[in-house]
């Protein structure tokens, strides 16, 4: 279409494009609102004895911060001594699909059929940032409510983006500017591309968030509602001078409450964070540094991520999502680099880049691909000179018949003159159509269940010998760790914030330890049969109970055995 940036008069006369009915509905249609998710959690807790809700705080907008706790459905089940898995979703706020998948896990866990609950307690927080999620669900930007003076002018939240043309979404404005760096792309006029100075091109416009200059300071949309990102407010690699990172580490109620919850639950052996970064799709390389700015997991831990990532993506019907750039001050990094808890991160889904253009694939193919049946993106044939945005538009046209991208429409701006308003629907690139959510949920639930065999589990291998007839025994014992995961990550050994395994010899009344240590600690055991040897000589009364040895670990449970001569 002609645009005011090319030919203002022609553009002003152009009617908006008529949209066709899409095959898929655009998120958040078909999604549960954060309030509906909260209600369903309450219903699950009311209906199932093995489900309870833990309220860890309340947001600035007065939404409760809730974590659902699940234990085995057996009426005698107890969380005491069990390792725990923590699943946290949607810290960014606009990743509504992660909340849906976490909710799906909650339903699965409440059903009594979840394999994982035979070995672990599971904590699930489907909506970790309710203020932002509510705004995203309503079509606003995913900001939190805590007032912040972003532009440091003494006025708070006075000039933020808003829905200028009242179309239900806050999109972007193309604003003519001789200093702008952007041009309209020749192949697809919806695309804004950087001018190529080497080709003697000069930009003619800039992109600004939809909005006005409400405070009249000639800066536009520089101080919107709230401003602190929860996912930038955690202590590891916190950026002191970045306004979105908060005034200090854990200054925000969401981040502080989550951290306090983790600190109060040392049984958390594994965490899963569903958001915009993904270490399962692309496991990081390992390192050995414990530097304060480290972003590489320890080599032993990186190897575990590789194994679990391969399992998560070893299915043909689940395409690898793309990970966001490694952020600073995020929750997952705090868990791992400061506490030593292994963290699996998944973005769950990304808009496919490999949908064929209509002219090459034929009309009957377009729109039927779900991306979940396609081969992983990096294995697809690269498209011809197309940028990612071109590819995304091809995909969006196929799936949503143009409705995912609001074509640029002229708007007479009170302060900027004629501008164009348009762009991607705010949720569409990071959230699949609701029709795909059940499949994502099923896949994720299966993966979580598969972790049951990975959790560390302690057992004793013991040989007891009577050294004489007066009750003197020698015990040689191996404490063995089964399962894939260690009792403590390699990073946990460095942080010293995970508890070692406590080992104790329990003698009956009148018993006497002759050789060995009655109480001792094993710092950590790797999985897959790693072990530690113990040696005791002791004397016990002839008619008393036998001695016992007990090993207890916060993350691997307890192993108790009676020392008997076989």
């Amino acid at each position: 279409m002609a645009t005011p940036l090319q030919d203002p008069d022609a553009a002003l006369e152009s009617p908006p494009a008529v949209q066709e009915i899409p095959d898929y509905v655009i998120p958040p249609d078909g999604y549960n609102s954060p309030e509906a998710i909260a209600q369903e959690l309450e219903d699950l807790a009311a209906a199932h004895a093995n489900v309870s809700l833990i309220e860890i705080g309340q947001t600035n907008d007065a939404y409760p911060l809730r974590i659902a706790s699940f234990i085995g459905a057996d009426s005698n089940a107890s969380a005491v001594g069990l390792p725990a898995i923590l699943v946290v979703a949607n810290l960014e706020g606009d990743r509504l699909a992660t909340s849906e998948v976490a909710l799906s896990l909650c339903r699965h866990l409440a059903s009594g059929e979840a394999e994982i609950l035979k070995r672990a307690q599971v904590f699930v927080m489907p909506v970790a940032n309710p203020d932002a999620a509510m705004r995203a669900f309503r079509g606003d930007l995913p900001w939190r409510g805590a007032p912040t003076d972003n532009d440091r002018d003494g006025r708070v939240d006075e000039d933020g983006p808003f829905d200028l043309n009242d179309d239900g979404n806050i999109l972007w404005m193309r604003v003519a500017n001789p200093n702008g760096t952007l041009l309209i792309d020749e192949q697809d006029d919806r695309v804004s591309r950087e001018a190529d100075a080497s080709a003697s091109e000069a930009g003619v416009f800039e992109l600004l968030r939809e909005g006005s200059d409400l405070d009249g300071d000639r800066a536009r949309m520089e101080d919107g509602l709230g401003g602190v990102k929860v996912e930038a407010n955690f202590p590891h690699r916190w950026r002191q001078y970045a306004p979105e990172a908060g005034r200090f580490q854990l200054s925000e109620v969401e981040s502080r409450a989550l951290v306090d919850f983790v600190l109060m639950h040392p049984s958390i052996a594994l965490a899963v964070v569903l958001d915009d970064e993904d270490n399962l799709a692309k496991p990081p390389s390992g390192g050995s540094s414990t530097d304060k700015n480290s972003t590489d997991p320890r080599e032993d831990d990186a190897a575990l991520l590789k194994i679990l990532g391969k399992r998560f993506h070893d299915s043909d019907d689940f395409a690898k999502p793309r990970s966001a750039e490694h952020g600073s001050g995020n929750f997952a990094d705090w868990l791992y680099f400061q506490r030593g808890i292994l963290v699996l991160e998944s973005a769950l889904w990304s808009a496919p880049l490999d949908v064929d253009p209509p002219e090459e694939s034929g009309a009957e193919d377009s729109g039927e691909g779900t991306g979940m049946e396609e081969a992983p993106a990096e294995e697809a044939e690269p498209a011809r000179d197309l940028t990612d945005e071109h590819k995304l538009l091809i995909w969006a046209d196929a799936w949503y018949r143009g409705a995912a991208f609001q074509d640029w429409q002229v708007f007479e701006h009170e302060k900027l003159g004629a501008v164009e308003i348009g762009g991607w629907h705010p949720l569409v690139l990071n959230n699949p159509p609701a029709e795909l959510l059940p499949e994502l949920g099923t896949h994720f639930n299966s993966f979580i269940d598969s972790l049951a065999n990975d959790l560390p589990q302690l057992r004793w291998s013991v040989e007891v010998t009577a050294l004489d007839n007066s009750g003197v025994f020698e015990a040689r014992a191996f404490l063995v760790c089964d399962g894939l995961l260690p009792t403590m990550t390699a990073m946990g050994r460095a942080t010293r914030k995970q508890m070692p395994i406590r080992v104790g010899l329990e003698l009956p009344e009148g018993g006497e330890l002759l050789v060995g240590r009655g109480q001792s600690a094993v710092e950590r055991l790797d999985g897959l049969g790693d072990n530690s040897e113990f040696h005791w000589i002791y004397r016990i009364p002839a008619r008393g109970d036998a001695a016992r040895i007990r090993a207890t670990s916060k993350t691997a449970g307890e192993a108790l055995t009676v020392l008997e001569v076989k």
Partner: protein
């Protein structure tokens, strides 16, 4: 940084000039000093140390004596529920404290480092007692505000006084902590085995050849480590204690066991990088209380946090990875070098390079995070025992043991040393217990307390005197013809400290200084900083709000800033300067 250099720093010279002028107009003889005899309104003996409750009582006494100058506000409670109360010290008749630039003074974040509490109270007492006779004290109380918290760690302080301790123990707060990761909290602390109220040292005589030390032939109290070619018959067994939890170690999980001066946001790092840091910044009630109070008071322009020991005036950075702007270093240097003159045996030092690395320190946060010029004075230096510089055998922390014993034997008649005496230890058998009491080493002897706290309190006063004091010269109006005018004004700051630190300016900390031109008949076309005072056209126009100029770097110390506007219209106008960390000022003009 030789403290005996034969010159006065530039800020002293500038200050003396100011004082002479002030004295000539306002000084009067004080009734308190009639006949050369000074009788303070409030008597506080400054030759002893006080418990937290006693410090609180002194604050209340001062408040009753000087109600118009002191407001006491609660900022919360310690872990054990002791009140944490800040004394807001200013003359309320000259304005509300929020409207005055101020200084935060605290002490004793480490529970055993008690004398900072007395120094903080002394500062208030001295200024109040001299309000009528000392014009500089009067000016500080009229134009500045001091926020004084004598103890950041009242639990640790009282524990140090009331329970058996060493000079270095009870540094921590008292939140239970599992230091040895056995699931138990604070279960293996020191033990006062002989019940004398002190935690001393244990030593044992063993067979010759089985020891690590030999007894000094001239003094049985001193054990000398043996050389490789010598045999020893004594071993040292550490501080008084037993293996309370039966894990084979002694005294490894005592009360608390963390460091609240590593619990602040700037460059905070977890325990495996910075020992004692706590789970996250502000994780302890005491630090959270202080942090919340300071964050909400952007008028705080100076910070002093008293510690002991070693005789130091410390500034950051605490880590080599942190860089301070050059202009701020000049400001620090000017203040620190004067401090060296004021405090014999003290040295002006940089924490990470002259002492050790500190992540998450308090004064690191107040400067790096909040842009406030901040010092930690480490009160008391062991060379002060004899009034001599340390010799080659003395370090920062203890000077020669023999010299300390000689001091205690002669000047204190042996008061602070417990001679070695036998004890039957449940694990080690026959041992001896003895050594210096807690009051020796890190705190000044009672007869030297007042000098120590006076000099340090006066360093705070000097720091506060150098808070920026921006004045505005008369605006100049230049008629450029055809209804266009150039309005220019100079902002001048004679003090050493800028109105905004360069750290604040570079990192957009807080709100910038604002110079605003307004008038009903005036339209502002452009405005900005003038870069060359001789070429008024060399003004850098701002793109946003030209009538309301933001001075991100404020007004420099002992410097000036010129701003100008191009305006049209006619009539009266007003130029107003406002800043977070110095007084506002304004000047009218007319077109």
């Amino acid at each position: 940084m030789n403290p005996f250099k034969n010159k006065l720093p530039r800020l002293v010279l500038s200050c003396l000039g100011l004082t002479v002028a002030t004295l000539s107009t306002t000084a009067t003889a004080s009734a308190q000093e009639a006949g050369g005899r000074w009788e303070p309104k409030v008597e506080i003996p400054w030759n002893r140390y006080y418990t937290h409750a006693e410090l609180q009582a002194h604050m209340e006494t001062l408040q009753k004596a000087y109600p118009e100058f002191i407001e006491i506000v609660s900022i919360g409670e310690s872990f054990e529920g002791r009140p944490m109360r800040v004394m807001i010290l200013t003359n309320r008749a000259t304005g509300a404290h929020e409207d005055k630039a101020g200084m935060w003074v605290d002490g004793n974040v480490h529970g055993n480092e008690v004398q900072g509490g007395e120094a903080a109270i002394y500062l208030a007492w001295w200024l109040l007692e001299h309000y009528d006779d000392n014009p500089r004290a009067k000016k500080l109380l009229d134009q500045r505000v001091f926020y004084i918290l004598p103890s950041q760690n009242p639990d640790g302080r009282d524990h140090w006084f009331n329970k058996a301790n060493t000079g270095s123990s009870s540094r921590t707060g008292t939140t239970p902590t599992d230091n040895d990761r056995d699931g138990l909290f604070d279960e293996d602390d020191y033990d006062d085995l002989d019940g004398d109220g002190e935690i001393l040292s244990m030593r044992k005589k063993v067979e010759m050849g089985h020891g690590t030390h030999r007894m000094d032939p001239d003094d049985h109290r001193i054990l000398i480590p043996i050389n490789a070619d010598q045999e020893g018959d004594w071993i040292m067994l550490g501080r008084e204690g037993i293996d309370n939890d039966g894990d084979g170690r002694t005294n490894e999980d005592g009360l608390g066991g963390y460091d609240m001066n590593r619990n602040w946001p700037s460059d905070w790092q977890p325990h495996h990088i910075q020992g004692g840091a706590g789970d996250y910044p502000f994780s302890y009630p005491e630090t959270a209380n202080v942090g919340k109070f300071i964050i909400n008071r952007p008028n705080i322009a100076a910070v002093q946090s008293f510690h002991n020991t070693g005789g130091m005036l410390l500034r950051g950075p605490g880590d080599a990875s942190v860089r301070y702007p050059r202009s701020d270093i000049r400001t620090y240097d000017a203040l620190g070098e004067e401090g060296e003159l004021m405090l014999p045996f003290y040295r002006y030092m940089i924490i990470h390079s002259d002492l050790y690395t500190v992540h998450g320190g308090f004064v690191n946060w107040t400067y790096e995070g909040l842009g406030i010029f901040s010092f930690t004075n480490e009160l008391w230096a062991s060379p002060q025992y004899w009034g001599k510089q340390r010799d080659s055998t003395g370090g920062y922390w203890t000077s020669n043991q023999r010299q300390q014993l000689e001091f205690n034997d002669s000047v204190n008649l042996g008061e602070l040393y417990v001679d070695w005496h036998p004890f039957d230890h449940p694990l080690y058998g026959e041992i001896e217990i003895g050594g210096f009491k807690r009051q020796h080493g890190r705190v000044a002897p009672s007869f030297m307390i007042e000098e120590m706290i006076h000099r340090n309190a006066m360093f705070c006063a000097r720091h506060a005197e150098e808070i920026a004091e921006v004045s505005m010269e008369e605006p100049e109006v230049e008629d450029l013809g055809k209804g266009l005018y150039r309005v220019s004004v100079d902002l001048i700051n004679p003090k050493v400290m800028p109105s905004r630190s360069a750290m604040a300016g570079q990192n957009a900390i807080g709100t910038p200084d604002i110079v605003e031109l307004s008038g009903d008949g005036i339209q502002v076309l452009a405005g900005g900083l003038v870069r060359d005072r001789f070429r008024p056209e060399r003004m850098t126009p701002v793109t946003l709000e030209p009538a309301r100029l933001r001075l991100e770097n404020g007004v420099p110390g002992q410097g000036r800033v010129t701003v100008s506007w191009l305006v049209t219209g006619s009539g009266d106008f007003m130029i107003r300067y406002s800043a977070e960390k110095c007084d506002s000022t304004e000047k009218p003009g007319i077109l």
